[in-house]
Symmetry: D2
Subunit: 310 residues, 4 copies
Amino acid sequence: MIYSNTNKGGFNVRLTGIFAPVPTPFLEDGSLDEKGWVKNLEIWSRSSLDGIVICGSNGELPFITMEERVRLTALAKETANGRLKLMAGAHFPSTRETILCCEKLAQAGAESVLLLPPHYYKGNKNAILKYFIDVADASPISVFMYNMPANTGVDMDADIMIKAAQHKNIMGIKDTSGNMTKMGYLAAAAPDHFAVFGGTGNYLLAALSMGACGGTTAASILYPNSCQMLLASFKEKKMEKAMDLQRRLLPVSDAITTRYGIPALKAALESRGMVGGPCRLPLLPVSEEVRKEVLDILDNSGLDQYETWR
Amino acid sequence: MIYSNTNKGGFNVRLTGIFAPVPTPFLEDGSLDEKGWVKNLEIWSRSSLDGIVICGSNGELPFITMEERVRLTALAKETANGRLKLMAGAHFPSTRETILCCEKLAQAGAESVLLLPPHYYKGNKNAILKYFIDVADASPISVFMYNMPANTGVDMDADIMIKAAQHKNIMGIKDTSGNMTKMGYLAAAAPDHFAVFGGTGNYLLAALSMGACGGTTAASILYPNSCQMLLASFKEKKMEKAMDLQRRLLPVSDAITTRYGIPALKAALESRGMVGGPCRLPLLPVSEEVRKEVLDILDNSGLDQYETWR
Amino acid sequence: MIYSNTNKGGFNVRLTGIFAPVPTPFLEDGSLDEKGWVKNLEIWSRSSLDGIVICGSNGELPFITMEERVRLTALAKETANGRLKLMAGAHFPSTRETILCCEKLAQAGAESVLLLPPHYYKGNKNAILKYFIDVADASPISVFMYNMPANTGVDMDADIMIKAAQHKNIMGIKDTSGNMTKMGYLAAAAPDHFAVFGGTGNYLLAALSMGACGGTTAASILYPNSCQMLLASFKEKKMEKAMDLQRRLLPVSDAITTRYGIPALKAALESRGMVGGPCRLPLLPVSEEVRKEVLDILDNSGLDQYETWR
Amino acid sequence: MIYSNTNKGGFNVRLTGIFAPVPTPFLEDGSLDEKGWVKNLEIWSRSSLDGIVICGSNGELPFITMEERVRLTALAKETANGRLKLMAGAHFPSTRETILCCEKLAQAGAESVLLLPPHYYKGNKNAILKYFIDVADASPISVFMYNMPANTGVDMDADIMIKAAQHKNIMGIKDTSGNMTKMGYLAAAAPDHFAVFGGTGNYLLAALSMGACGGTTAASILYPNSCQMLLASFKEKKMEKAMDLQRRLLPVSDAITTRYGIPALKAALESRGMVGGPCRLPLLPVSEEVRKEVLDILDNSGLDQYETWR
């Protein structure tokens, strides 16, 4: 396969750092809560986050129309004003809608796009590879792949991801499979421009130890300093500190992702001075019982001490 | 849960018969092939089919925008002109887009809608039930549920489907799970207005023997008479005939669904005088080798003898 | 592969009928309850069963030593005295222990053996095929294959089973996968000597409609007449009767297999005058609540009316 | 649950270090190759290994009779003569056979036993917990749990493992699930006497970073020094060295476990001066092609430089 291989996004240097896959706030009637979005963006812009992912899985990606994604991105561009790198979810099931979305998000100010693999029709590895190549060829901004088997039912093979990584406009992968063998193979084979990111705060340190150079973690929405400290401690070989932070992050991250999902994440945001609000249906709110359990987990993590910026 | 329970679609009598989940034809540039669509509709209108499903899985549902679904439905209404019952795929990931789509499809002439369960965020049975109830409450036309775990990764529990079946505007289920235990429980528990349909020609006879009252089978796109004869033979207790037809249908159905998917189905349509054409990307065409294998399977099935109407 | 292809078991005619995969009774200390075994055998010998499977999954196969399997078989030979065909579970993880067990079971009076595929080490189809061929070559009695993915984690491919079916000393398959596509392919490809059996009463009629010629069903331990009537009704094209029986069998079969397992089966036996008793550890008894639920399901099935022989 | 809670094995101190789950050598006729076993034991006794696992998954556990396990253990006791800690696989499907095996292995000189969870009959968490408790109560030597879902189809929940860890005679867990969330929860909840071991060299460093205190890795059969250096580098915070070793170990470990299994491991042993030989049937040897690929992976790892002791 011959790639056009123009690095349109200008990502000549491998991306690193901590990105927050932020939730999308809604009003009670299910429409976008633009005020809430701007308020949260102002908070995150003051934080130690390197960037945010707009309309990722935590952003209720499949429920957000293309126009809404554009609007959310434009508001983020305006509000963050360079203080946050902006990656936006451009995936649609068809290649044509995905490419169209890439173009519109680029115009709105996104610096890169996050893309799931095709997943409704399963079983064709070549179709997955061609999807990424086609979009990367056409997109004005760089593509970050997103392996998320728990939601898509598709766990991309390492060889497909490594092939796609040769494309200069495919700048990295967020792998949330939890497969450390895959993480290790990816990191070892990554070209210079290609970033391998861990996809969860549950085991960010494990991903780093296998060669990941950053993370996109839901926990960083609430605890950006904690995640940055974990990354820095790892780089500085302060392993006790890194392991202590990881031990504290695990139950927090697990509660707001795998165990209770976005409704719990939004309840947690409310507790820490950000705008949470309802999810779009069919997602249901957490019960009062779960809400309390989640907040207890946050309180007991001891991580709030590091988040003095809030 | 209290349902509004108005049977808006007027389905007081349980639906029966054979429905074809037809493919959507595209031009080489990926745009809708409206001429091809009308041509195929005219062919199917002359057939023994009871109805068609527009924009089901075979219709490349996730790749078709709401506007396109409306256009395809309007053309079908105009062309079939009462000769085919029209069920249309209205599923979107969010409840609000699904309801909007139901309204538009009803205006365009659909008589019922086919709905997948929510499936990107997994694990909440109540969310699935509420989705169907909310849409059934709001939809001007009746809802047919669609259990398709191979594509969605969600296999709806029998108890959820049975609860949903109590809603008067939920008229049936297409179950493609292949789970005969579930099929048996569903058929035994179905209220009078509720139709349990087998979801594939691979084992339509098995589904009927467990109590299904009809089928939505890809094989009926090409072999409507064969499928209708199987159903009639079963009802008339001509089991040798029914089993002979099932034995012949199995490899045909399997080739154009599970094994090689929509690209193979479209190649098969071309061979039988209908418009096939390319799929939308990311779906790739079948290789020449597979195309030949599929056509051989069709030729060897001996079923073309029954399809004298084509 | 060249088979020795001697039909050592003398199964020149395809096996048909209803076989009961009977449980193994134990005393409270976990030792074999030989008296209970003989008592049950006398009951089953008076029934309409064609045969029994000794030490199948319901017989707690993995917990029974080779010597115990031999003892159980010898007692069955002595007690049934030709009134029941005797198939015995000879599977061990290694080929050598399996072959040794086949020899011993043949000496003890078994007429055929039931064999799971190798399953601890997964992923080698050739190893599965060679296992069956090696055992069939060496075994003095014929081999019945047993596909049981829910327990083994291995779902044998149809092509492997069809290749194995060419061996003259491999006489059939009990397929409990529930995959009707596979059942249909197997039945269509079966040589004259090869029997395809449905593996559960949950959907015996579906299996028959796809071409199965008999069944090995846990429900027949308690309801042999009901199962035989279902089979006869199907053959005589009395489909209402067959479907009515299937509808009644489904919840019974499901409760004593998939839902609550052997402990529930044993509780059910007790309620119908047979010896149940405890399972071997690690299997735990059913709770009193589950026991009552299971007996209610039996009582409500309406099938006891057919079991006047008990 | 009240445990007897006598620490019979004397493991008051948490186990740490690197254990090799060694293969069992066979002669061409499938019988034990005792000479080969002793030869390998002498080699491993001279190595930096802390101990070995006799008759684990790599030791073809399910194919080895109780008497053979005893014989292998006795030979190891005699040969290693205190230079290696001896853990032996005592799992049988029934609790009674497992307990009997524990007693015999203790007499033969094993210092602890490795135990899979019950797995043929699935779905009962209480049965799994009770199995470990019952065996730990009865066993004269301490129990090491073994979570191996790829082979058993059972992935033990963290809460079950944490409950079992309270038993004083349950001394640790080898977790080969690859689930870093589980690893983190286990390590955080482990009592002082309880060791959490990573179960593969594919990502030993990731396991350590999540809190594991040792590893049972197939790679250490061939590369004990490399594994020990990885562990030591991690403890000394020489993360570049640890990561470099991990990067080199990954393809080696993957090739001799997940990808090509025991036959490849045995071929690799032959290449490094140890006795490999055939597996017991139904396991088949690797093809010549795979053998070469595996040896290339070993050669290219650059790890042989550290194994000067061989």
